[in-house]
């Protein structure tokens, strides 16, 4: 546990400069600063405009398909023999993951700001697909930067983006994964700053992105509160979610942060193991500055960013959202990790017991549910966020399990 003084509320951050404790901030090139200030102002106005919220509600219901169900995972509960397990079914959203909640908010904001060209970075391709989808819906130009390595391992999503009319640019620089896609998106934004809106896919980047993306994802936790009250007449006892940048996790966690009796677990990707190649920035990294914010990063003695590794392209990032870094240091959220192998095992268990193919990302959260649930009494209510569906991962999983799909 941290020795730091506990705040009265964990939900008031960031401060006006975008800081969560020592984390966050606005570490960007001067060229982008006027744009970031413009975005901050536009978001502040939208946040206080009932018409914006009405638009969000309309499209959330009729286009995304919200609310997503809170589902009692009865057979998983029986099998593990402890806590009563609920799934928050974000994989049932249009486009198959939680990413679309945030993209809807940012695209509606881009429209208010009169921006006609949208750029995005993507790792697994879920954020890219969600961005391409809403750009198609609203007739906006869409360019998605994706590491060349990820283009190769997530081909179905590349094809989906192409079908939706987006231009996918394979990024050949650096390690050719998500962090390089983000570098390239920032380079595009610096170059086309006047007409372009950068739609960031997670709770990272310069202020106001971490707070804004969190706000758009909080629908997950807000619905969970209501749904659990309806189902059980009380709040849950614990929450579990996977963390790459951390947007699905903060969306579930944030509305519960001040219910201090609720245990909250964030699950990072331990890859081959924490002593080998992994993507667990909190467990294996330290504070640094990258992509516009200060947060925990995987890096060497000189501050050079190291390669992350996870079987899940969506968790394969050497950083984490700054609010998670702060919650980690404050001790409010417990951050643990799951290896590639553990995630694959959880994927198979969930598929067979519940008839739900989870994406590899939430399979990391499920892997820790398999550990945590048996230690809890039967009246313990545990919610796990199933942040995406596994269809996109089938080829990769087949390869790992030694099967051929066709």
């Amino acid at each position: 546990m941290s020795a730091q003084a506990q705040p009265n509320s964990f939900r008031t951050g960031p401060d006006e400069r975008g800081h969560f404790g020592q984390f966050g901030g606005r570490f960007v090139a001067e060229t982008l600063m006027p744009n970031i200030l413009e975005l901050e102002k536009a978001y502040e106005e939208a946040r206080n405009d009932p018409a914006f919220h009405a638009d969000m509600a309309h499209f959330s219901t009729h286009y995304i398909g919200r609310p997503s169900p809170l589902y009692f995972a009865e057979r998983m509960t029986e099998h593990l023999g402890g806590a009563k397990i609920y799934f928050k079914r974000e994989e049932l959203n249009h486009t198959g993951a939680h990413k679309v909640n945030n993209v809807l908010g940012q695209i509606l904001l881009a429209r208010r700001m009169g921006k006609k060209r949208i750029i995005a970075e993507t790792g697994a391709g879920q954020h890219g697909v969600a961005t391409a989808t809403l750009c198609a819906r609203f007739g906006l130009d869409c360019v998605v930067y994706m590491g060349a390595v990820d283009v190769e391992r997530q081909k179905p999503n590349v094809f989906r983006m192409n079908m939706l009319g987006a231009k996918v640019v394979p990024v050949q620089s650096g390690t050719r994964t998500l962090k390089d896609a983000m570098n390239e998106a920032l380079r595009d934004w610096v170059t086309n700053v006047a007409d372009t809106f950068y739609c960031i896919g997670t709770v990272a980047g310069p202020h106001p992105y971490p707070a804004m993306v969190r706000d758009f994802q909080c629908v997950i936790g807000n619905e969970t509160r209501e749904q659990m009250m309806q189902a059980e007449g009380r709040l849950p006892d614990s929450l579990v979610a996977c963390i790459g940048g951390g947007s699905n996790a903060i969306g579930l966690f944030h509305p519960f942060l001040d219910d201090k009796e609720i245990e909250i677990y964030g699950v990072e990707a331990a890859g081959h193991g924490l002593d080998k190649l992994h993507a667990a920035s909190l467990s294996g990294g330290r504070p640094g500055v990258l992509h516009g914010n200060r947060t925990y990063l995987l890096m060497d003695h000189d501050g050079q960013i190291q390669d992350a590794h996870s079987i899940s392209a969506g968790l394969d990032y050497p950083g984490i959202g700054p609010e998670h870094a702060w919650l980690h240091e404050m001790g409010r959220v417990t951050y643990i990790s799951a290896t590639d192998e553990e995630a694959l095992e959880a994927f198979q268990l969930c598929s067979r017991l519940e008839g739900i193919l989870p994406a590899l990302e939430p399979s990391h959260a499920l892997a820790k549910v398999m550990e945590l649930a048996p230690q809890k009494p039967k009246d313990h209510l545990m919610v796990v966020n199933i942040s995406g569906r596994g269809d996109k991962d089938l080829f990769q999983i087949a390869e790992h399990l030694g099967n051929q799909i066709v």
Binding site: R17, G25, R26, F27, V28, A29, E30, T31, L32, M33, P34, N35, S173, G174, K179, D180, N183, L186, R187, V190, T191, N192, V193, A194, G288, V289, L290, H291, G292, R294, L297, M299, H301, D302, G303, Q304, I305
Partner: protein, 279 residues
């Protein structure tokens, strides 16, 4: 030590010309070659030298500088070694200002106070840190000024008159005007617009204004020198160096000369434009 920077601009004013500022990457393609290049630059006509701190994720740089940073990192360049190269440069040259240019993370990880002390002791005069806008002045800018190092700010085409005072506050040495909205080594700017922008900035500050991004030749340098107090060239020098490397990315016999040849051309370009000497 901003005195060396001030003295050098004063000397250029006396000579009735703009200054030539050159950028090369520390450790590219190896530490000894990069030091030899650094030493050769003033002799070839550079007035101020910028030494790049390599970083894995240079978000404001184009392909040339990205690749140069990765070449340097591949042979083990780090901040400690870069400061050591500056120390060795300074042993032979007491007058040429040395500016370190890079990104904040390696400096943050080194430790800001320790970095400033070590940089100053090595003979560094100023810092350009791309990802530290005025909003983050507490991080490095203010401590640097306190330690006696110039924190040189980038002004850009998106920095409007409302924002300029904030950008110019706490800056020292000179102002670096980024000629385009874009990354290093990409588009060539509209030189007429650049001259107008420099005039606009000079209305807000007595500091010299230098212009960089997209300057590739002696003719470009001459065009920029019409309006600006200095011309910065980086990617073109790195491209010249890269053109001489062998298939393994190692220096060859012609590496240093390829850089100095272009510096001479740029220097001739800068010197072809007569400016009124300071009264």
């Amino acid at each position: 030590m901003t005195q060396r920077i001030e003295a050098r601009f004063e000397q250029c004013r006396q000579e009735g010309r703009a200054a030539l500022v050159t950028y090369v990457m520390a450790g590219d393609p190896d530490p000894e070659t990069s030091l030899a290049i650094l030493k050769s630059l003033p002799k070839a006509g550079a007035d101020i030298v910028e030494f790049g701190l390599p970083f894995t994720d240079p978000m404001a740089d184009g392909p040339a500088i990205q690749a140069a940073g990765l070449r340097a990192l591949k042979v083990g360049q780090d901040t400690v070694k870069t400061l050591d190269l500056v120390r060795r440069f300074r042993a032979d040259d007491q007058d040429t200002p040395v500016i370190l240019m890079g990104y904040f993370n390696p400096i943050f990880v080194y430790g800001v106070d320790r970095f400033l002390a070590d940089a100053k002791a090595a003979g560094v005069d100023g810092l350009i840190v791309v990802d530290l806008p005025p909003e983050e002045d507490d991080e490095l800018c203010l401590p640097a000024l306190k330690a006696g190092l110039a924190f040189i700010r980038l002004a850009t085409p998106t920095t409007d008159d409302r924002r300029l005072p904030a950008v110019l506050r706490n800056t020292a040495g000179f102002v670096y005007y980024v000629s385009i909205t874009g990354i290093t080594g990409a588009a060539t700017p509209d030189f007429g617009k650049v001259a107008t922008a420099v005039e606009r900035i000079k209305r807000h500050t007595p500091l010299p204004v230098v212009v960089g991004f997209g300057v590739k030749s002696g003719a470009h340098a001459a065009a920029v020198a019409q309006g600006a107090d200095g011309v910065v060239v980086g990617s073109a020098l790195i491209d010249a160096l890269k053109g001489t490397l062998d298939s393994e990315g190692r220096a060859t016999a012609g590496s240093i000369e390829a850089v100095t040849k272009l510096v001479k051309e740029l220097s001739d370009g800068v010197r072809s434009v007569a400016k009124r000497a300071a009264a």
